[in-house]
């Protein structure tokens, strides 16, 4: 089976302005949503307690709320259904410091009389831990960006690297615009998803860049726009296929992973779509705008080859004892 006609070169850049406009709108829409709505950060970041309770019958949510209100610890608590009508999650910004009598124990005491239940999970994070996580998460993210910038600059050129970074930021901002809009819990797994999207996005982009570089090196074409159109067209088949397989598995994670994986599977689902879009329509396009010149690149390449040849000549002379 073949999805794409092999010989055709699609004019992706001809529609560049439209895609740029679409990306621009989405990007700033996402920023606006995040700025106004914010994230519903999980307790990993804010500190607090999550108690997951499973009842043998349908969970009496009103009764649970009523019981909880009597305790000061649960003053700002929320009670929501989780996965099934039997199961609820109680979230409160409070956390306990003492080991002897913690919030899980308190919850068990308070909920006595609301029915037959089992406490399946108690996650409690103190405020200090959240701060540390935020700093660590941000450091990891920035360091990764820098590492990508360095490797792409080393293997390609700094303009490619810059465009790749912009594409990554584009993907991540739009994805987390969706996360904010749908009020999906932002937890430690979401950070893993974020870094995963980052890896996926750079992978996709590098595959396209590799083609661009190959065309520059092997063809006589001097029109950079044409080179990019050809590279994107040639890789389009693989981009779509891989995106499909990744999309399949992320979809199964999203469907079967349940609420507990939501913080991971939802951003991944959106990230795969946006990442695929950007590697076809945005990443290569951006290189054009950074003012990349094919002629200059070829000249630099030629110089590199010349220098290598000279070095080898010198070495050969040295080995033969001429110098």
């Amino acid at each position: 089976m073949e999805l794409f006609k092999e010989d055709k070169v699609y004019n992706f850049l001809g529609k560049g302005k439209i895609f740029f406009f679409a990306s621009f709108v989405l990007f700033f829409l996402a920023i606006t949503i995040v700025a106004t709505k914010g994230f519903s950060f999980g307790i990993d970041f804010t500190g607090g307690t999550v108690v997951q309770v499973k009842y043998t019958q349908t969970a009496p949510i009103d009764k649970i709320r009523e019981s909880l209100q009597k305790s000061k610890l649960f003053e700002h608590a929320t009670v929501t259904e989780f996965g099934s009508p039997q199961e609820v999650v109680i979230k409160t910004p409070s956390s306990t410091v003492g080991l002897n009598n913690d919030i899980g124990d308190t919850t068990k005491e308070i909920l006595k009389g609301t029915g037959d239940f089992e406490i399946r999970r108690v996650d409690m994070v103190g405020p200090k831990v959240g701060d540390e996580l935020r700093v660590k998460g941000l450091t990891a993210f920035l360091l990764t960006l820098m590492a990508i910038m360095a490797t792409v600059t080393f293997r390609y050129e700094w303009r490619f690297a810059l465009a790749a970074i912009i594409a990554i930021v584009h993907d991540i901002v739009i994805t987390f615009g969706f996360v904010s809009y749908f009020e999906v819990d932002f937890n430690i797994e979401s950070v893993a998803a974020l870094l995963m999207i980052l890896g996926y996005s750079i992978h996709d982009t590098i595959i396209v860049y590799d083609r661009v570089r190959e065309h520059i090196e092997e063809s006589k074409e001097t029109n950079f726009v044409q080179i990019i159109n050809e590279a994107v067209s040639r890789t389009q088949s693989r981009t779509t296929l891989t995106s499909l397989t990744v999309f399949f598995v992320v979809l199964t994670l999203f469907i079967f992973g349940g609420d507990i994986m939501m913080g991971f599977s939802f951003p991944m689902l959106i990230g795969v779509i946006v990442g695929t879009y950007s590697s076809i329509f945005v990443a290569a396009q951006l290189v054009v705008w950074t003012g990349f010149s094919v002629a200059d690149y070829r000249q630099k390449m030629a110089e590199k080859v010349k220098m290598r040849a000279e070095k080898e000549k010198m070495r050969a002379q040295f080995e033969q004892g001429i110098v």
Partner: protein, 525 residues
């Protein structure tokens, strides 16, 4: 058909993968296995903080005890001896004793003594403070480990995290009651102190406030058994639990459980001296800041043993004896993070992620076969071997498989076929350009290689950063992903080429690109 080195490598990798992943798959007793994370098997995970500054305060207190004992033994009169959180202060009344006292103070290690006139200020040297803090954390880890070992749990983990944090993981905990008991045992300071009751002012204890008590060098402590009972004790203890050698559960005349403790020779000496000159007075047995009993001293007590009685059940007395035996915590600990997962939730998570794994895998396998024909089957084979290798590597490393780690593996299936997709697309391009089969395949691999390497190196770098800066769950994710990347380079790039080489003659002869590469038939191909 001939074996080639790529094929040999693939076969070796397959055997490696299957052999070393078997113990994990069959859950056999022998061999290295992947351990399931607490989120999958259920259990208790805690991150504990250590209040190291309290270790310094308690050190100052024992310095004060020492000074007090020295002064009494040598008939040196000192006044208003008190220990705050950062210094010990006292007044020396007779200057003639200054030489003897200074001689003693010089011998107390790690302290800085300042004396102006008769007023003394003893502080702990900054370097010593740092050492004390480090020791407090190390000692807490050691103590918690001891206590948990005696508690009888399977494979508890107690490890230092950062400078002053302790990670405790208890996979065996199943119920919330068990969890509570374990937490109590861990957190118990188990600080035993023997203190003298201030008999001159004990009558007034109910009318006195903290500040007034401090003014007399006293302290008000609550009674452990009577809710409103209070005791006025001398602030500086006679001795503390560091001189304790053993603690056992015993029974008193009413058959109630008690804890019998024994002191070492130094402790017995001090205890004997004190009881000899305090006949008729009361001695308070203080545990974790509460007075358990305050018997009247009838005669000198030698031998250095004592008894703590309270309203214990045998289990409680047993836990307390464990705590006392394993030593007091130098500094109190507090909870920074706690995650407890019940075994039923863990089982649900495993079921959900396995379902995702199987259905995701099924979809990808079908898709690849449908799209690429036999080339897709080869790619699928590579993915299966890849999964075995990941599992084998993780088993050998004794790595922990967490829920995010499972997600990483599921996701990896989607990405693992990518290398083969890139290669297959390149090969198809070669065929379209009319390049002969053998060369088209060779060139396809060669050209795809550069892009795959560039990308994988970048991703491995990202994984390394994730591993260094990530915490538990993210670390697990980074480990599975990077092992997947490495394994896929072996199976998808080297191994699948080996299979093509094996069948090269057949492919060349048949020229059936639809069967082999899923391409539509065309003229001239």
């Amino acid at each position: 058909m001939k074996l080639n080195f790529r094929l040999v490598l693939l076969i070796a990798a397959t055997i490696f993968g299957i052999v070393f992943s078997l113990p994990s798959l069959t859950q056999s007793e022998r061999g290295a296995k992947v351990t399931l994370g607490l989120d999958l098997q259920g259990g208790l995970h805690m991150l504990l903080g250590v209040k190291t500054e309290e270790a310094v305060a308690s050190q100052l207190k024992s310095v004060a005890s020492g000074i007090n004992r020295f002064a009494e033994r040598n008939d040196i009169v000192i006044d208003s001896l008190s220990a705050t959180s950062d210094m010990v202060t006292f007044e020396l009344l007779d200057n003639d004793d200054a030489v003897a006292l200074d001689g003693y103070l010089k011998k107390v290690e790690g302290t800085v003594v300042k004396a102006t006139g008769g007023s003394y200020q003893v502080t702990i040297a900054p370097a010593e403070v740092e050492k004390l803090k480090v020791r407090a954390v190390d000692q807490a880890i050691e103590t918690i480990r001891n206590r948990l070992d005696q508690f009888g749990l399977a494979e508890p983990t107690v490890a230092k995290q950062g400078v002053d944090k302790i990670l405790v993981e208890l996979p065996g905990i199943k119920t919330i009651e068990e969890e509570q008991r374990a937490r109590e045992l861990i957190s118990r300071a188990a600080k035993l102190e023997l203190m003298a009751i201030d008999e001159d002012r004990a009558m007034r204890v109910n009318d006195m406030d903290e500040a007034e008590a401090t003014g007399f060098g006293d302290k008000i402590l609550p009674d452990a058994l009577q809710p409103n009972g209070k005791h006025l004790v001398r602030e500086i203890p006679i001795l503390d639990g560091t001189m304790l050698t053993n603690a056992q559960v015993g029974y008193d005349q009413n058959n109630n459980p008690t804890i019998n403790f024994t002191l070492n020779s130094d402790g017995a000496q001090i205890f004997g001296d004190f009881t000899a000159k305090s006949v008729g007075k009361r001695l308070a047995i203080v545990l974790d800041g509460k007075v358990y009993s305050a018997p009247v001293i009838n005669e000198r007590i030698g031998g250095g043993s004592g008894q703590i009685s309270g309203n214990y059940t045998t289990a409680e007395a047993n836990d307390l004896a464990i705590a006392l035996r394993s030593g007091a915590l130098l500094a109190p600990i507090y909870m920074m993070e706690k995650r407890s997962v019940g075994p039923s939730l863990g089982a649900d998570s495993i079921r959900a992620s396995l379902l995702a794994l199987v259905s995701g895998f099924g979809l990808v396998v079908l898709f690849m076969m449908f799209y690429y024909g036999l080339a897709g089957v080869i790619a699928n084979l590579a993915v299966v071997i890849n999964l075995f290798i990941i599992l084998a590597l993780m088993s050998l490393m004794g790595a922990t498989l967490t829920l995010p780690g499972m997600a990483g593996i599921v996701l990896h299936i989607g990405l693992a076929v990518d290398a083969n997709i890139i290669i297959n697309e390149r090969i198809r391009e070669g065929f379209r350009a009319g390049i002969p089969t053998r060369r088209a395949i060779a060139e396809g691999y060669q050209k795809a290689m550069r892009a795959i390497l560039d990308s994988n190196v970048t991703q491995l770098l990202a994984c390394t950063i994730l591993y260094v800066y990530g915490t538990g769950a993210i670390k697990g994710f980074a480990v599975t992903l990077s092992m997947g990347l490495l394994a896929s380079m072996l199976t998808a790039i080297v191994g699948s080429y080996g299979i093509y080489q094996l069948f090269m003659h057949r492919i060349e002869k048949s020229k059936n690109y639809t069967l082999w590469f899923g391409m539509s038939r065309r003229k001239g191909a």
